[in-house]
Symmetry: C2
Subunit: 222 residues, 2 copies
């Protein structure tokens, strides 16, 4: 019997822009953004690459839509919430989203066309701060420092060259051996006395820095 062709066992039904975007997200989640090619995406949808161009202008339009899809996953802060609790919750939700779609942060770089979910998200965050008495300028300060922190934290987190505590321990041990302690004494100390301690997880730093920033914003009520 013939091996099932890639096409036969793929989803059938008419192609739509929405199906294209959803499948692109699934492909990038599963195999990384580098694996997202028009040919592979088409194959998953049971069509040829060229068919995609009937539903999206080009690959860039798919990437725009993927970012907007990801933003849509962050639930919106309400204007009647206390700002500090609302911003804390939003920051954690944003981090969760960016971790579950590791391609999203990298795509932010090149996106020039914010979609409706992205705009709605920004509008809700600004609205919550304004409703809590923040001036326009203080709202801009708060949004800038919070988003910078969230994006940068996840960027570092996604870069970590290990996925589990065991990986980390193994890597740190190797590093300690390869990095002569006299060349990088402080890096060696940090590895030995902090990173290699039981229970260490870099992700725990997230709320430490987040609360430092929220407290700072609370104090600067200009």
């Amino acid at each position: 019997m013939a091996a099932p062709s890639a096409k036969t066992d793929r989803k059938k039904g008419r192609l739509t822009r929405e199906r294209v975007v959803r499948e692109a997200v699934a492909l990038a989640d599963a195999h990384g953004i580098a694996a997202l090619s028009m040919r592979k995406l088409a194959d998953r949808l049971g069509v040829e690459a060229m068919s995609l161009y009937h539903h999206v202008a080009n690959k860039d339009a798919i990437l725009d839509a993927m970012v907007d899809f990801a933003f849509g996953e962050i639930s919106l802060p309400r204007a009647d919430e206390n700002w500090k609790a609302a911003m804390r919750t939003r920051a954690i939700a944003a981090r969760t989203m960016l971790r579950s779609h590791p391609w999203a942060l990298g795509l932010l770089d090149s996106r020039r066309n914010p979609g409706p979910a992205t705009l709605r998200h920004h509008d809700a965050v600004i609205g919550c701060l304004r409703a809590n008495g923040f001036s326009v300028a203080r709202t801009a300060h708060a949004y800038s420092v919070l988003d910078s922190y969230i994006y940068g934290f996840v960027l570092q987190e996604l870069n970590l060259p290990f996925d589990t505590p065991d990986d980390l321990a193994a890597l740190a041990e190797t590093m300690l051996q390869h990095l002569p302690a006299d060349t990088y004494p402080h890096l060696a100390e940090m590895t030995r006395e902090h990173v290699l301690q039981p229970g260490y997880a870099y992700g725990d730093e997230f709320t430490v820095g987040l609360d430092l920033i929220l407290d700072g914003l609370d104090r600067n009520d200009d």
Copy 2:
């Protein structure tokens, strides 16, 4: 007369790993990381693409070396400096570097092999904080929140869809017309009353957030 071939007017002399990396940085600075292909890089060096493989293992090794080159441009904090001033200076220097090599931030994502300049940099930052009486844990907190902020701020800054105040004004006007104010009222207000005000520059937010974080670290002297 014949048009000068791409090769004839390129730098001559023996190929070295250092020349390959330096030229890769120049190419990426000038035309973006997407334009950095082995073929184009070789052409700039007056050789064929395949010659590069005698000096670097593959393209990934070039990207690793580029990131380390970029880190090498940030001058190191000294252990005898006041931590707050030293961290402020370093943050500004890091932002300057990341802005002048817009490809660097995107490459951080995928780099798994920190080079000597990168390690030296981290060692110096940790060393300065420790010399100022920071505990190992407080050093880790400080480094995490500062680098997250710096990386995230530049990520947002590089994403801004305008390069000059004039571009910004033009874009904001178009946005105000395209975004119905009743759908995104707070975004419209922020654009009108903040972004479109004379003298506005997003980059000015950098030190606002930075000082908020430095003051927060100063207070948490646990």
